[in-house]
Amino acid sequence: MEKFSVTRTDEGAVTLLSLKGFLDAHTAQTFENVLKTLMNEQRYAIVVDMSELDYISSAGMGIFMGFIEEVRENQGDIKFCCVNPRVYKIFDLLGFPNIFEFYATREEAIGQFKNIRDHS
């Protein structure tokens, strides 16, 4: 019955968010709240694991657009990993790969924040 969930795991300065299920205009609210919390905690190094995300609509994609500026202004980033091909196609249609970095594995994505990790 749970249509969408986010699991948060902090690894040093990097926060890993694992999305699961359906991210639509309804469940986007849940996800927005998680990101708001991260902003409040000033955690700007974010990796979003989408291996278990089955579906995303533009309302879900809009959430990333809504936070990326604040994140980057604070020397952070939102990086994506393990996006399934169906979901990736939608990101691609909307030109997201020009704006966000996509990685095949968590490790690669997390590895991009090496500087930040060493700093903290």
């Binding site: 249509k3 359906f22 639509d24 205009a25 309804h26 579906y55 609509s57 533009s58 309302a59 994609m61 809009g62 959430i63 657009m65 809504g66 990326i68 500026e69 169906r86 939608i90 249609l93 909307l94 030109g95 020009n98 704006i99």
Partner: protein, 155 residues
């Protein structure tokens, strides 16, 4: 026997209608409805997904935009799916304020980043995912987005 009449009535039969409150929690019901029909029609898994997303976008727009500044009217979404020999025709209707589809510009991702406006992606996506898209606006009475997805010849 009136062949013509029979054909018409058998076309009529292949319409699926759904009407429900314009609330985001109902998106799931709308998607399942459309997916069920699209699967029966023989669309590929990828096309079923495209149709699902296009309908979700159109319905999300109704929920988000159609009934702002409006308290009295019934806030409903209508979905009608018509099976055609060559594909599916889907109409998403509302009784809200309507809008001018011509005035909606396709999003420019570069500009997008600057403005950081989250939005403007829905109609763009719908046009990418479906084969034909058209609009009919009668604000307060009935506004429609009509979209067609064709079955691929090679199934």
């Amino acid at each position: 026997m009136k062949i013509r009449k029979t054909q018409t009535s058998s076309n009529k039969k292949k319409v699926y209608r759904l009407r429900l409150p314009a609330e985001t929690r109902n998106l799931d019901i709308i998607r399942k409805f459309v997916v069920g029909i699209a699967e029966q029609c023989g669309f590929s898994e990828e096309d079923v997904y495209n149709i699902e997303l296009a309908v979700d976008e159109a319905a999300s727009n109704v929920i988000k935009h159609a009934y702002t500044h409006q308290t009295s009217n019934e806030k409903i979404i209508d979905v009608a799916v018509r099976e055609r020999s060559d594909g599916l025709e889907i109409v998403i209707g509302d009784k809200g304020k309507g809008f001018d589809p011509q005035a909606v510009k396709p999003p420019d991702m570069g500009e997008y980043m600057k403005k950081l406006k989250s939005g403007g992606l829905g109609l763009y996506l719908i046009k990418k995912l479906m084969d034909k898209v058209s609009f009919r606006m009668r604000p307060g009475v009935r506004n429609e987005i009509r979209m067609i997805k064709y079955l691929k010849q090679d199934g």
